[in-house]
Subunit: 297 residues, 2 copies
Amino acid sequence: MSECNLGHVVIIGVGLIGGSLARVLKAHDAVSQITGVARSQETLDLALQLGVIDKAESDPVQAMKDADLVVLATPVSTIGPILSAIADVIPAHCVVTDAGSVKGSVATAAREALGDKIDCFVPGHPIAGTENSGVAASYADLFVDHRVILTPLPENAETDIQRVQAMWEVCGARVVRMSLEDHDAILGATSHLPHLLAYSLVDFLSQQDRHEEIFANTAGGFSDFTRIVASNPIMWRDICLANRHELIPLLKLMEQQLASYRALLEKSDGEQLQRAFLRAKTARDNLPEVTKVGNDE
Amino acid sequence: MSECNLGHVVIIGVGLIGGSLARVLKAHDAVSQITGVARSQETLDLALQLGVIDKAESDPVQAMKDADLVVLATPVSTIGPILSAIADVIPAHCVVTDAGSVKGSVATAAREALGDKIDCFVPGHPIAGTENSGVAASYADLFVDHRVILTPLPENAETDIQRVQAMWEVCGARVVRMSLEDHDAILGATSHLPHLLAYSLVDFLSQQDRHEEIFANTAGGFSDFTRIVASNPIMWRDICLANRHELIPLLKLMEQQLASYRALLEKSDGEQLQRAFLRAKTARDNLPEVTKVGNDE
């Protein structure tokens, strides 16, 4: 289907994202080989057994040999340390990218780790995922019609950016480019802030004396509203910390927004309340259809 | 299937809830007749055409003739006025119930409207719904395995409560009883507060300068999180106003909860943040399965 051959692709972190990427690249015959790297032997065994990867490797340094394209699909806090470990053995022609949900902190860590080799690193973020984790949850269609945001660095060669773009286009994704800063501001608002709100609601309710009675009386609306809370807490801790400079002011604004709704209730101002709800409903009803696919992040 | 015959049932408000109730009662042959009452002739015509009701009536007073059981499935703010209108013509043996999402304000309005006839009114609330409104969205399975909360008044006869309970059991619902106060406290936490949070997030984002770019970069997680925002703004305005005494302190506590998360981010306290997320995930993962059905409210 694809005429693109990406060569030897090394995927570090064979979870939902890395596993799905491996599956689709193999399905489209877009690679000569896929090496999967994971710390856990169990994950590697499962990935081999499921046919997700061709070769398994627990040491990222060993995996670099003959690598043409490296994708880091591990929690954002691990990207700097992994890049430090492989910095000296990244082959000359090799391009490295990542799938981290925060781009500013990743780029900073990459600069520190790679030094004057920073030009090989093209930061990226597929806007896809589910609340499930691990290679067993991966599937080849995860990225179809989803956005992948690339946030190229000034040092990147256009041809290197295009290799990363070609990889995501094989996956059926729509690739857009934006600055690191824009990415973190926008994803802070659309993804990280909603996760914090959902976590904070369920956390709050779970600490009420009557929490059992409360949870017994929830329905599907609550379940949908809180589905993102089922995501990996460590991954989301890392994302929130890495993007805290965006999230701190956003949280403050949300506190003010809730206080303004509270003021409307205190004044019994139904007119303003209805206007606010209608504003929200109109925006929600007009969401691009593709964003309503049952995917996360 | 059911041995229960509820006689002539009058459903005032033939929308998602009233229409679904009518459908299931007819499907189970549990009634001698269903009269649907709505202000809009279009709704009545559609309900007749879909076979949801046997007879259509625009005037609730006219519909009371020979009524055995009356269900008010209209927005909470309309329940008082409708009860006032029909107070003098409710047949002696007839039981009246409602499906309103707030029970304290409804009971107060019912007392004012019905005076010493208050014993015929058994307040109720089916914990079911979707973000869609109207009789066209109604379906007979809406209540299957869902909770219906009855909040009987001290004046209610046990036999009258049991007639209402029997009606909901025909629908496949699990009927529980609690006090008006408990109902409003619990549903405030599980339903009304999440709606306010979701409305406030989308309302907040829609007012950002970059709102178009923001909404273009949402994914399925955002879509699920905000699905309840697609609900009817007028209905939710009424619910929030009617339960404002519960919601005002809950909103205040949520503001404090967000501020405490913000403090963790300001201190980069990953350990506490992870603990909070894990607490929430554990509670979410342990939700009773039945509450995860794609239903609302």
